[in-house]
């Protein structure tokens, strides 16, 4: 587990706000009849900023959606960017997972890269420096022919093939995990790869087919890659949406307002605004 938390006791009240910008996670790849599991979706990119002035601001915030899972020979969707325009903060969406059976759909580059599909030559995607890690490769061609794990914000996705295909780890801010990679799907009844940090979607297998959706919501995690089903096409899991968090010492600013969806909590001497849909944030 990687922790980038800043301890409350070292955070002076006059140091401005902390911001966390998390993009949408990528969807897990799909697969069809055959023997190869699909790659897990990559985590959405994560950016952290501290000491940000929060007096009299008006910020345009976008919240990127998680990507769709692939189905059979249909490509999965990468996650979408989350951003705070006036601060120049843009987190890149997580890369889609690669296709399982059949060629020509690689894992995509993203905040974290999507895992490579199990089929030979379906490569993983690369992560963005400072935002996430690379997707896992499909490894050696061996039972249970798992797809590679999606990259996480904290580590590279695990190698598939005979490897675990687990999604890459996420990172923790203020005790909450973000950015887990999706697990790679399996080509047999053996388990698919586990979702990274327990928030990425798990890979499917020959028993349950579909990859799991990333959960809970708004953690910017990748969906699980599809497992080879008992018949026909199977579906990758959806990535989870992104989020923007604004946190500062003291009580909530009385004039704070947001045109999108926002929840506010105050604990331990800090106020936290959690923004889960796009909007204009003002103080």
């Amino acid at each position: 587990m990687i922790t980038r938390r800043i301890l409350n006791s070292y955070w002076p009240a006059n140091s401005g706000a902390e911001l966390l910008v998390v993009a949408g996670g990528g969807g897990g790849g799909g697969t069809g009849a055959g023997q190869y599991g699909a790659g897990g979706g990559g985590a959405g990119g994560i950016l952290y900023a501290a000491g940000v002035s929060i007096t009299g601001v008006s910020w345009t915030v976008s919240i990127g959606a998680g990507g769709a899972g692939g189905v059979g020979s249909t490509a999965a969707g990468s996650g979408s960017v989350s951003s705070v325009t006036q601060l120049g903060l843009t987190a890149v969406g997580g890369g889609r997972g690669g296709r399982g059976n059949g060629a020509t759909i690689d894992g995509a580059n993203g905040g974290s890269g999507g895992g490579g599909g199990g089929f030979p030559g379906n490569d993983p995607g690369l992560g963005t420096f400072g935002q996430g890690a690379d997707g896992g490769t499909n490894g050696t061609q061996a039972v249970p022919f798992r797809g590679g794990g999606g990259g996480g914000a904290g580590s590279v996705g695990a190698t598939g093939g005979a490897g675990t295909g687990n999604g890459g780890d996420g990172v923790s801010y203020w005790g909450v995990g973000y950015g887990g990679g999706g697990g790679g799907g399996s080509g047999t009844t053996a388990a698919g790869g586990a979702g990274g940090y327990s928030i990425g979607g798990a890979g499917g297998n020959q028993t349950n087919g579909a990859g799991g959706n990333a959960s809970p919501a708004n953690r910017g995690s990748g969906g699980g890659g599809a497992g080879v089903g008992s018949s026909g096409n199977t579906t990758g899991g959806q990535g989870s949406d992104g989020v923007v968090i604004v946190r500062y010492a003291g009580d909530a600013i009385p004039t704070v307002a947001y045109t999108g969806t926002m929840s506010t909590s105050t604990s331990g001497g800090f106020t936290t605004h959690t923004l889960t849909s796009s909007g204009i944030f003002t103080t």
Partner: protein, 66 residues
């Protein structure tokens, strides 16, 4: 809250969680369409890179080159 896809040159380039389609058009410009994760409108929940067929009001998936 809804999900809105931005369409550029006939393809999906991003999908946001947003208050409304009109809000996206005002805040970011360009052409936006409502989408749903359950795929209950416009044929499917699209992926970035999918085409939009305005004659059918549906998204068209990217298929692998077999």
């Amino acid at each position: 809250m809804i999900y809105a896809a931005r369409i550029q040159d006939g393809k999906v380039v991003e999908i946001l969680a947003a208050p409304s389609v009109a809000w996206c058009e005002t805040a970011f410009g360009g052409s936006w369409l409502e989408v749903r994760k359950d795929g209950s409108i416009r044929g499917k929940y699209p992926a970035i890179g999918d085409a939009y067929d305005d004659s059918k009001d549906e998204f068209v998936s990217q298929e692998a080159d077999e």
